[in-house]
Symmetry: C2
């Protein structure tokens, strides 16, 4: 039994497993944000020919059923099937625009004024040849040589001792020893005969495992230069769009291994592409640092994340041992050390520790706030003396997820939108300047802000359908605002999209408010708001304030930093001192569970308006809207 794909290619069909599973096994990655539970309907495909059985029909419209749509997660083939896959069901892996520029990164590192000290150190030894008057064991000879260079009594693994006799003698007692710092002291991780390539040829990888995107920075360790960036979707997405659905998949479906392998495969293919592009030898990659949220870290290392999901939200561990790449499955030399940034709690992970490190809040006297808007939103408030943190579930909409035409900030994404005050027609810019294929976070924020300011939607996010505009379409699912149209295809923002955004921004703002209350402060006490996230190349802070996502504070207080998780990984790749700082930050972050506060729900509901129920908190927005409304009326 087989499945004929749109390309004409066929894959094997096993009638005992779902079409979703069959497609995955055949290498076709279908999005299944709900983890195959039959809730979201995102995995729908069209069966053009063949027999199948399915019990799940209520999430599809009557029209869709007539056209042959079926939810792949609940469909079992009963004969050869010829199928079509709507673009919306297919995971797009062409690429993701990564943030971060070489100069910016190097400037950050240089400003920290710490010496470069990667995870590994190399020592070249010319040991004296044994004689009858100096016939200590090979191990003692090596340890004596290392002690003379200041490396006292390092740990050696069994494997290294087994190969010691040969490695010491192969180049006549000239040997290069690679050492690494661990929690338990120095450890020798490699002994190479002769004088190894000088450290100048060594590269490191700083990797951010985001819920949505995996980014790899290739770094030249001697100078800290960013050589190149490679990125891809986190293929775990085919098992669920947010951390909760992935934890469910890992636990209830026994899919921990699938999730681990998915992200390891992503990392390996990114490394492979960078190695190929720069013709790097197998020995070129010397160390790896990984950042990401707590669940991503646990999945990456193969630790069961089940308890993160359930109150009281505990992790397996917040400190990760440095492990050899071989043990984890990363395809570089197996002894390459992989350092994973420490986490603070189940929902305040290594990405946030990275962000604090990159913004240097932990060294500042003045109070700062750090907000990382990813699939989850995390907020840190504090300074060198204290730091509190909280997480709230924003959902993936600011990265384009869960929206009718949402997409990540890659080529083809509408990333800024203005609405002409006279005609109320949208004016868009597109990443890559080509034909748009969707809209990313910054574009959505712009659109909603503009629609609100121009009176196209009410403070409740409902369309003013009486405007009689051409580019407001009424569909079965409600009205939508058309941003771009060619033929039958349209890119639009629906009322349901707006609801999604309202919920997300309300959660972030409410989290911020509760966290401030917990420490008895107001927004006015914060001197700088550092904003991180995958919105796009730019984030229009004015617009984000307009929709009530961020507080109505002087605009110069805000700094948009893009992806700070990978920046922190980069910093830890380069410096022992900064790795220690990261550990201190993780220790110092006091995590507050927002769900425990009785006020969170009140704050959240108050935030489900544009900009907010409490208009007095958004004086400049209220002002703008008033003025603009006047001019258009």
């Amino acid at each position: 039994m087989q499945i004929i794909l749109p390309s004409g290619k066929t894959i094997k069909a096993d009638p005992r497993v779902t079409l979703l599973e069959n497609l995955k096994n055949g290498g076709v990655n279908i999005i299944a944000p709900c983890g195959g539970d039959g809730v979201c309907g995102r995995c729908k495909v069209i069966v053009k020919e063949g027999k199948y059985r399915t019990r799940l029909k209520d999430i599809l419209s009557e029209k869709e059923i007539l056209e042959g749509y079926t939810a792949a997660c609940h469909t079992y083939p009963e004969s050869d099937l010829k199928i079509e896959i709507p673009a919306s069901s297919l995971l797009n892996v062409d690429g993701v625009i990564a943030t971060g520029r070489a100069e910016d990164l190097e400037n950050i590192f240089n400003s920290l004024d710490v010496p470069i000290s990667p995870l590994t150190t190399k020592a070249y030894l010319e040991l004296p040849v044994p004689t009858l008057t100096d016939n200590i064991s090979d191990m003692e000879r090596l340890k004596r040589g290392l002690a003379e260079m200041g490396f006292r009594n390092p740990n050696f693994s069994f494997r290294l001792i087994r190969e010691l006799a040969r490695n010491l003698r192969q180049e006549d007692w000239h040997v290069t020893v690679t050492l690494m710092d661990t929690e338990y002291g120095k450890e020798v991780i490699r002994i190479s005969p002769g004088k190894a390539d000088k450290i100048m040829d060594d590269y490191g990888l700083a990797i951010d495992i985001g819920t949505t995107t995996v980014i790899v920075y290739l770094i030249y360790l001697a100078t800290g230069r960013l050589v190149d960036i490679a990125s891809t979707y986190n293929h775990q997405i085919i098992y669920g769009e947010d951390v909760i659905s992935r934890i469910v998949y890992a636990t209830e479906h026994g899919g921990l291994r699938d999730l681990k392998e998915a992200v390891i495969d992503d990392i390996n293919s990114l490394i492979e592409s960078l190695k190929g592009k720069y013709r790097l030898s197998d020995r070129a990659i010397e160390s790896i640092v990984i950042a990401g949220n707590t669940t991503m870290m646990q999945l990456f290392l193969g630790f069961d994340p089940a308890s993160i999901r359930k109150e009281p939200y505990v992790t397996t561990t917040n400190r990760f041992p440095i492990a050899g790449a071989g043990r984890i499955g990363i395809k570089v030399m197996p002894d390459v050390p992989v350092y994973t940034l420490p986490c603070a709690a189940g929902y305040v992970g290594g990405d946030i520790v990275s962000g604090v490190l990159a913004t240097k809040i932990h060294e500042k006297q003045e109070l700062c706030a750090f907000i990382d808007v990813g699939t989850n939103g995390e907020i840190v408030i504090g300074n060198a003396e204290w730091m509190v943190a909280a997480a709230c579930s924003a959902g993936p909409c600011f990265e384009g997820g869960g929206l009718k035409n949402g997409m990540r900030a890659t080529e083809g994404a509408i990333d800024s939108v203005k609405i002409n005050p006279a005609t109320l027609e949208p004016e868009i810019t597109v990443i890559g300047e080509g034909v748009p294929s969707g809209i990313c976070g910054s574009g959505v924020i712009d659109t909603i802000s503009e629609m609100f300011l121009k009176g196209i939607i009410s403070p409740k996010g409902k369309f003013s359908t009486d405007l009689g505009l051409n580019h407001i379409h009424l569909t079965d699912a409600g009205p939508e605002f058309i941003l771009y149209q060619t033929g039958d295809d349209a890119i639009s923002i629906t009322e349901s999209d707006i609801d999604n955004i309202l919920r997300a921004k309300a959660a972030i703002y409410a989290g911020f408010m509760i966290l401030l209350k917990e420490v008895g402060l107001t927004f006015d006490d914060i001197s700088t708001f550092y904003i991180a996230g995958g919105f796009g190349r730019y984030l229009n802070i004015e617009k984000a304030i307009t929709i009530g996502m961020f507080p109505d504070q002087p605009r110069e207080k805000f700094k948009y930093l893009g992806n700070t998780s990978v920046t922190g990984a980069y910093l830890c790749l380069l410096s022992e001192n900064l790795r220690k700082q990261a550990e201190d930050i993780a220790d110092k972050l006091t995590v507050i569970e927002l769900s425990v506060s009785g006020h969170f729900m009140d704050e959240y509901i108050a935030g489900l308006f544009l900009p907010h129920t409490n208009l007095s908190a958004f004086p400049t927005v209220a002002g703008s809207r008033g003025i603009i409304l006047e001019s258009t009326l």
Copy 2:
């Protein structure tokens, strides 16, 4: 193509490999002391039917060639072969009489007055269930619980962290943690849900890997009681009889793996038999301690021993990391720790450190000597202040090797011999009291001593053939003294055997002399001579002095201890304090290379007489001989 064995059983014959190899592959263990180099001729078998080719004939007598004998190591089958295997070519694995009795062992341990503290400690924890106000990570919770019990910040392996979440929750946060001391601090080696079997049910293994014999003591850890002993030949013997030929095999034949597997298989089958006999569960064995000479230790761990053989005789390492049984290949639970006694040098190994520990020389004020006569002979002189050690190659003859009818001290071995002064006929005792099948170390010493005292052999070890005795036979190879005869089979001592013993005892005595000279002492300065070795149940010190093996000192100064290597392993199995003492002993032993001394050869040659060229050094022996010679004349 196949080989038909004497039993009628057939095994596969591969014409590309030797008969020796074919037999080994078929599970038939032939002795090949020279490692298959075609030097010793010990691997000879009789081909009754079939074609083969061999180039090696000069080590066989004409008669043997006519009878169909061929050296298996240089014989290649060319058709089906029907063979016979002389008993002398076959490795006898029926059993070895191990020394050591339960009460003796317990007395030694009790006299040391240290508490029982095995390699592992178990901690039972009832951890508080996580709550929102106490939601630290699983790892922090466990570490906090351990710290409350006094175990601060232990190391955890990656594997344990992966399984942590499940193991803590399975029995509702009740958990038993097994910890171990390492060079780098405490390490957790196992986390078991619930309350584990109490420590009272745990057993340990003390193992001596001798060049010839492997001995396993099963020990009840709670009391230190010796439950039982199992022993077997070290099957490495099929690759060579002494350490040198095994090192050659390991290096020049690339056979390190064969040697490692041979001894691991021996250990595993001994453990299996003990487990079966006492119906022990897989979890019953909790820790293992291994002693043996340096080469045995390196082969056991798979470390290349090549450099031990060549000047300046260096080892890979003299300190061995504690390794999990699974990593080494011992078939108990893979996380069971295996502690290997430290060595002092290439030829002063963990067996000698064991011996010092067992004799407590390192704690004594008076000067003592320790002599371990195995396949190599090692000597230690010293006290609590200082210790020197040296090794000399004695050869395997005191364990029965290299003698015409030599055998280990097992059932059927002649272990004591008297010669009737009137008839000059031998009077023998046999281990097990049955028909003798050979002679062990103590029997050989007795025989030669008696023959010398009774004037049957000269001080040069040559037969006084003019005595006209019935039980002196003259053969092509020279005269031999018959100890036991039935039909055509005789057990005898040949002149060549006597030469062997003379060389061995001369080496031991010369080593002793040189070592004393190095430290400016004489035998009179030594208060106690501790003798260890596999001679048999008893060692007649009088006779050993008579042949000039040990100095002519008051007999009450001598103590025969049997196998002290396994005793030391036993002590280290029971006590952290004694493991530390063993490390100190290894550090403290100053090893002197006898080959470096210009006087060794002179001393050695002076020792090739009975009792010695310098008769004044053996006044009581000279006296005895004079008297006895008088009475028989």
